[in-house]
């Protein structure tokens, strides 16, 4: 295997963005018939490196060799001609077209849709995809859309595939299916690169692991000869513990009660259907479900951002007094003295203002305080200093626009601000999505500290491994309905996965 010419060879690749070096002198090889896992923390340059292969960026220095020949990749078109196909985190499909139409879109030559459908079916059969070429994209689940993206690059003759965090949006069952397909493709002699953060995926799927840290290539090894701990240490640069703490809840008492909550979105589609549960103070309530099962609507309804159709949301004070939250906007909830912190899924589009600096973002929650016409800038500045210091946020300065920070640091800023409010209810949506191991553990630790402080935590997560380790109780949503509420200490991934796709499952309570 070692003496074959690699499919792709990178030699001394360097890429800078202004003063930031995204990749420094990276040399590595990608081989055929092999699944390579590209590991690294956020901002370690994985995606940048792969974007240079797919023609989105152009390297400042260094050479790229395909099958031993030096090539120049100036645009995605060049990459396609060399057989390189990349599947991005955000799908690039036209909603109103069918799968087949999306796949042939932009190809040269005469349009022969029937011929294309035949070829698509052949590809699907060969590797075990399940796609109906005539189905419209808007009718598809996330996993189906991803399949279309993969078939699209295969259809165009790609034999070097790069997948950027492909499982972030999939259920465990869907991820398993994807892995089988990828294995089939590997056995067919294709070169596959998968960018991921999830250790168990690396271990179960890849043949070889390559690690980047701070833009530099650290090394590679055979997956069979390493383990999660060693890989993590290489990524982070020092050893870390991989266990999530789950202290026993101290004096849990009901804090938030949701009864029969029903929500329709703007298009009149039922997103939540009779959801009832109680969140306790001093406890982490995990919420699991396939993405789009109503998680977003649930949290936004509690936060006062989502109009509801029916049901009740009540906040319960320490002395047992109840106050209704339903029908109140965020301002009214704040004026009632209920401190409700919310870390939304869309960090830069909702939780923070990307173009504002850290100080101004800290001000978002507090700027109304006081009777003065003018904003108080001193306190937010101090808060920003604290957050940067306590959570170890990597930022050039406090006056840097937050959109310039890496994903992990953006999240630390957001979570830091929300926690500074000293909330009594903390809601987080996909708090560690796209975060590297180190930042993820920082966030888990922060959430646990809030739990210890008697905050009712609602944690919407997608990584079931984390949910079963972190949450005290787990509520599973399935198509807007509560599929069940289970004890986090007694359940497992399989059970949750089944409950996510089908109403029912055993109740432990």
């Amino acid at each position: 295997m070692e003496n074959r010419v690699p499919a792709v060879e990178l030699r001394h690749i360097t890429k800078r963005f202004g003063p930031v070096v995204a990749n420094r002198d990276v040399s590595m090889a990608i081989r055929r018939g092999e699944i390579l896992a590209l590991l690294g923390e956020n901002g370690s340059g994985k995606t940048t490196l792969m974007n240079m292969l797919s023609g989105i960026y152009y390297p400042d220095e260094g050479q790229i060799l395909i099958d031993g020949k030096e090539v120049v990749i100036r645009a995605p078109k060049d990459a396609f001609e060399l057989g390189i196909g990349m599947i991005h985190q955000h799908f690039k499909l036209v909603d109103v077209l069918s799968a087949a139409e999306n796949i042939v879109l932009g190809m040269k030559g005469k349009l022969d849709l029937n011929g294309a459908i035949e070829r698509i079916n052949a590809i699907c059969q060969q590797y075990g995809f399940e796609v109906d070429p005539r189905q419209k994209i808007y009718d598809m689940s996330v996993s189906q859309k991803q399949t279309v993206e993969i078939v699209k690059v295969l259809y165009r003759g790609a034999d070097i595939l790069i997948l950027d965090e492909p499982t972030a949006v999939l259920t465990p069952q869907e991820a398993d299916k994807l892995f089988n397909v990828l294995r089939n493709m590997r056995d067919d002699g294709k070169a596959i690169v998968i960018i991921t953060h999830k250790m168990h995926e690396v271990e179960s799927l890849s043949d070889r692991v390559a690690v980047l840290r701070a833009g530099e290539y650290i090394g590679d090894m055979l997956t069979a000869e390493t383990n999660a701990q060693e890989m993590t240490n290489m990524m982070v640069g020092h050893s870390v513990t991989l266990n999530i703490n789950r202290p026993e809840p101290v004096d849990p008492r009901p804090r938030l009660e949701v009864r029969d909550l029903t929500v329709r979105n703007e298009d009149g589609i039922l997103k939540l259907d009779g959801v009832s549960f109680t969140a306790n103070a001093g406890e982490i309530l995990g919420i699991a479900g396939i993405s789009g099962s109503g998680q977003k609507e649930l949290l936004e309804a509690i936060a006062g951002l989502q109009p509801t159709e029916r049901g009740d949301i009540e906040y319960i004070e320490n002395d047992g007094a109840r106050e209704r939250l339903i029908g109140k906007d965020p301002l009214k909830i704040q004026e009632m003295g209920v401190v409700l912190s919310f870390v939304p899924e869309d960090r830069l589009g909702m939780g923070l203002v990307g173009n504002m600096d850290l100080n101004d973002n800290m001000m978002l929650r507090s700027f109304r305080k006081g009777r003065s016409l003018f904003t108080d800038r001193k306190t937010p500045h101090q808060v920003a200093e604290h957050v940067v210091h306590d959570l170890d946020v990597a930022t050039p300065s406090l006056s840097t626009p937050v959109r310039r920070l890496s994903g992990g640091n953006v999240q630390k800023v957001l979570v830091g601000r929300e926690i500074t409010q000293a909330p009594s209810v903390l809601m987080t949506a996909y708090a560690v999505r796209g975060l590297d191991i180190n930042s993820s553990y920082v966030i888990y630790d922060l959430i646990n500290r809030q739990k210890a402080a008697g905050v009712a935590v609602i944690y919407v997560g997608e990584d079931l491994d984390v949910l079963v380790e972190l949450a005290d109780r787990i509520l599973v949503l399935c198509g807007g309905k509560v599929s069940g509420i289970v004890d986090g200490r007694k359940t497992n991934k399989r059970e949750l996965g089944l409950m996510m796709t089908r109403i029912g499952g055993m109740r432990h309570e």
Binding site: R11, H12, R16, F17, G18, P19, V20, Y57, Y58, D60, E61, G62, Q63, K69, E70, V71, V72, R74, A303, G304, L305, D329, P330, L331, K332, I333, Q334, F342, P344, D346, G349, M350, G351, L352, V353, G354, N355, M356, D360, M363, L364, R365, F367, R368, S372, L373, F374, T375, R377, P396, T400, R404
Partner: protein, 362 residues
């Protein structure tokens, strides 16, 4: 196979302010050189003398200087008016109409109240009515935007034409002398409703009012809670809702302010500068103001510079077409070239261009 592209473009990080201004300075210099080349090639005139004419046309005599400053003041006033809306990403291109309607309100007070009230009372009415008129003209599109999500760009643009037609109508209603279809100087003998002249300089009042307005607007936008809300709404309405800002209310409030300040510009035009009412009184400043605001990146202090630059350009350009008997279009060409370079320089501030390396051995 070795076809490294001739150049490729990459984004710069944060550029220090002095580098950004050096790039902008180079752009202006280059623009002047290109303009000189065009002038010489096309007309055969000496470019230096053309520039001297531009300069003299603007600053040549105290009177000309005062006129220039007056033009800058009105342009800056309208620019200040549209800026809060722009910060909110509400593209108010109705500054022209909001100003005109302010003019109309002022003129109406001067004409209709001249027999009923003393001068100072008329002025009070003018101030209130012009601000209210401008605010209504700005508030209508804001209301529709806040309530039904209409497109503010089209709406504010259309409101300009309504304002122009209203003014045209009242020009006929109040025509003087009869049959001329024009309103001459209003209250020429009595000077009722004329804003006071300060220090013997006709235009000083306008300049002072706008100077105060500039500082107030800068503080309002950067240090007040309202200003902060405007920025948040502009950057992301979802974030604004998330922190409990009432987006509709902010849109309405900001557009009332925007229109109100345009009304002040109208008041200054009728009450202090021209003492008359015509459909072209705003003189396109409502549109130039958009450019002033954008070029200054919505910063009121920088807007002093950019409004000055644009007023200077249009004034100087007009001057050369007179002095050298050139077509007015020629001055437009020069203005266009200069703006092209200034706007184009922003590209070089944000991006860096890498040319092909000489050698390829690593």
């Amino acid at each position: 196979m070795n076809k490294e592209p001739l150049f490729h473009i990459s984004k710069r990080g944060a550029v220090p302010w002095y580098a950004a201004w050096a790039i902008r300075g180079c752009a202006v210099l280059l623009a002047l050189i290109v303009c000189a080349l065009i002038t010489t090639l096309v007309t055969g005139e000496n470019p230096i003398s053309v520039y001297v004419t531009i300069f003299n046309g603007t600053f040549g005599s105290p009177r000309r200087m005062w006129v220039t400053f007056q033009n800058v003041a009105i342009l800056l006033c309208i620019s200040l008016a549209v800026t809060p809306a722009f910060r909110m990403r509400f593209w108010n291109i109705g500054g022209e109409g909001q100003t005109l309607i302010g003019c109309l309100a002022s003129a109406a007070c001067m004409i209709l109240l001249r027999d009923a009230l003393p001068g100072w009372a008329i002025i009070c009415c003018m101030i209130v009515s012009s601000i209210v008129a401008g605010a209504i003209w700005g508030g209508i599109p804001a209301f529709f935007k806040a309530r039904w999500g209409t497109n503010e760009t089209l709406f504010t643009l259309m409101m300009n034409y309504i304002a122009t037609q209203l003014v045209a109508f009242f020009c006929v209603v109040w025509e003087s002398p009869k049959g001329s279809g024009q309103i001459g100087i209003i209250n020429q003998k009595t000077e009722l409703g004329w804003l006071p002249v300060i220090g013997g300089q006709r235009y000083l009042l306008n300049i002072l009012v706008v100077a105060v307005l500039t500082v107030v607007m800068y503080i309002y936008l950067n240090y007040s809670k309202h200003g902060y809300e405007i920025s948040v709404v502009g950057e992301s309405e979802r974030t604004a809702r998330y922190v409990g800002i009432k987006v509709d209310r902010v849109i309405m409030r900001t557009m009332l302010l925007s229109g109100g300040i345009c009304g002040i510009a109208g008041l200054l035009l009728v009450g202090s500068t021209d003492h008359t009412l015509t459909t072209t009184l705003a003189g396109g400043n409502g549109f130039t103001a958009v450019m002033v605001s954008w070029l200054a990146k919505f910063n009121p202090i920088w807007m002093i510079l950019t409004s000055f630059l644009l007023a200077f350009l249009s004034k100087g350009a007009g001057e050369i077409s007179k002095a050298f008997a050139l077509n007015q279009s020629f001055s437009d060409i020069l203005t266009g070239v200069i703006l092209f370079f200034i706007i184009g320089s922003e590209f070089f501030i944000n991006y860096r261009i890498h040319f092909r390396h000489g050698k390829k051995e690593g």
